[in-house]
């Protein structure tokens, strides 16, 4: 049997997405299952990301797998100049699966070609982070009951935000999605994604600020607007307070509407939103463990 990897969200089909949703729900009901007994999983974090690493390692532990690896390449041989190629070849001999994060884009795809064992991409620079997208989808499925007919508002940095791009691609596989983009012109959704939506006859609307239209939202997906992204600092000063979500803005929203955020947040969601029944971002993070248990068992073919 050919090995499976998860490098980009589009490596999975709609059937895979649905299977992951189903498995994540099973793991949520019963998180501890000995499916990876006697298996070794390598978690290779060439750049630190404590949040993602702990989520993956919790998932592996709950499946009774054993973990080898490193959490930061400065403590490993990588600093001594070993190539990614050689590190992956070596680890392939020791482990049954690799979970990796690396600052260079495309590193995970390359590793999957070099490795004889399955590779899961836990982030390759600004490129892909598919387990984040799957946990976002699980959060949508759980709170809305379905992945069909969802009106998603994406807010903030839609130009560089990889999480919104992947979520857009994945949700486009489902019935009748509607996308609303709220972003400053400098950080608008790139044309290639808009062209993609047009080619699939999927409706989308663009806005430069929050308006009453958020009353139609099923999901508001918030991202951070970072100062470094602006070529002109004056432009940043003009927009920096425009994309902050506050409790008073949520008055007319649907009772079932949920706010998601890939975390960590800075100031784009005001703390007064946290107590609102719409706030879902902390639960969303917990869903990450169940989703990653689902991804790992699906990739390893143990479920």
């Amino acid at each position: 049997m050919e090995k499976r990897d998860l490098i980009s969200i589009t490596d999975f089909s709609k059937a895979d997405y649905l299977r992951i949703m189903e498995l994540a729900a099973e793991f949520e009901a019963n998180p501890n299952q000995e499916l990876l007994k006697n298996k070794v999983v390598a978690t290779l974090f060439f750049e630190p990301s404590t949040r993602t690493r702990l989520s993956f390692e919790t998932a592996i532990n709950r499946l009774s797998g054993r973990i080898i690896g490193f959490s930061d390449s400065s403590s490993s041989s990588v600093v001594k100049g070993e190539t990614l190629h050689d590190t992956i070849r070596m680890v392939s001999n020791y482990a049954d699966m690799i979970v990796m994060r690396h600052p260079l884009e495309g590193s995970a795809r390359y590793a999957s070609e070099v490795a004889s064992i399955p590779v899961i991409n836990a982030g390759d620079g600004a490129n892909q982070h598919p387990s984040q997208t799957l946990l976002d989808m699980y959060s949508i499925k759980k709170t809305q009951g379905s992945l069909d007919n969802i009106n998603i508002f994406m807010v903030g940095d839609l130009k560089y935000g990889r999480t919104v791009h992947s979520l857009l691609m994945a949700m486009s596989e489902f019935e009748n999605p509607i996308f609303n983009f709220i972003a400053p012109p400098e950080l608008a959704m790139p044309d290639e994604y808009k062209r993609f939506l047009k080619s699939k006859n999927i409706r989308y609307f663009e806005h430069t600020q929050f308006t009453d239209i958020i009353s139609e939202a099923d999901i508001i997906y918030m991202t951070r607007v970072q100062k470094e992204r602006f070529t002109d600092p004056i432009e940043y000063e003009k927009v920096k307070n425009v994309y902050i979500l506050k409790k008073k803005m949520l008055k007319n929203t649907k009772p079932t509407m949920k706010i998601l955020h890939p975390l960590p947040r800075v100031n784009e969601i005001h703390p007064d939103v946290d107590a609102s029944p719409h706030a879902y971002y902390f639960t969303q993070a917990l869903n990450g463990v169940f989703t990653r248990e689902a991804i790992i068992s699906h990739i390893m073919g143990v479920k």
């Binding site: 990614l84 600052p103 884009e105 495309g106 795809r109 390359y110 620079g125």
Partner: protein
């Protein structure tokens, strides 16, 4: 010398590459390694062209390009036409065609792409022909026609 004379005269056997954008003429010479060639080569540039405004043209004696060489020409001169000359006659006119996958010819424009940091064959799928847009198999970023750099 008029355009027509330059295109077909004084070459017994070989290839005339016509309709090269004037500004990419030397790139074509480079990627085909013609500066090392011992064959007779003539080229002209800034010739009037209805299609391109200004065009370049290269005549190479005793060379018949194929496979990867034609892929390379297609990448930087997508409108190029190859006139195959035998015994002073044009026996065949070929339009270049952009292949659907480009392997190890082009450099990924993304400085943070793994292919610019380790010895890896680059691989692109051609997502658009005119203008050319190449999607990197690794970083998934698009290299646009004006960013194409040959490795």
């Amino acid at each position: 010398m008029d355009n027509r004379a330059l295109q077909v005269s004084a070459i017994k056997e070989g290839t005339v590459i016509d309709h090269i954008p004037a500004e990419r003429l030397f790139d074509v010479i480079n990627i085909l390694g013609l500066f090392n060639s011992l064959e007779m080569i003539t080229f002209g540039t800034n010739l009037d062209s209805k299609q391109l405004g200004k065009k370049g043209i290269i005549k190479v004696a005793n060379r018949f390009f194929q496979g990867e060489e034609i892929d390379k020409i297609a990448l930087i001169a997508p409108h190029a036409k190859l006139n195959i000359i035998k015994d002073y006659e044009v026996i065949e006119k070929r339009v270049v065609e952009t292949p659907s996958e480009i392997v190890s010819i082009v450099k990924c424009f993304n400085p943070k792409c793994i292919t610019n940091h380790e010895k890896i064959k680059t691989r692109f799928s051609v997502v658009s022909n005119k203008p050319i847009e190449l999607k990197c198999r690794y970083c998934e970023k698009i290299t646009y026609e004006n960013q194409i750099e040959i490795v």
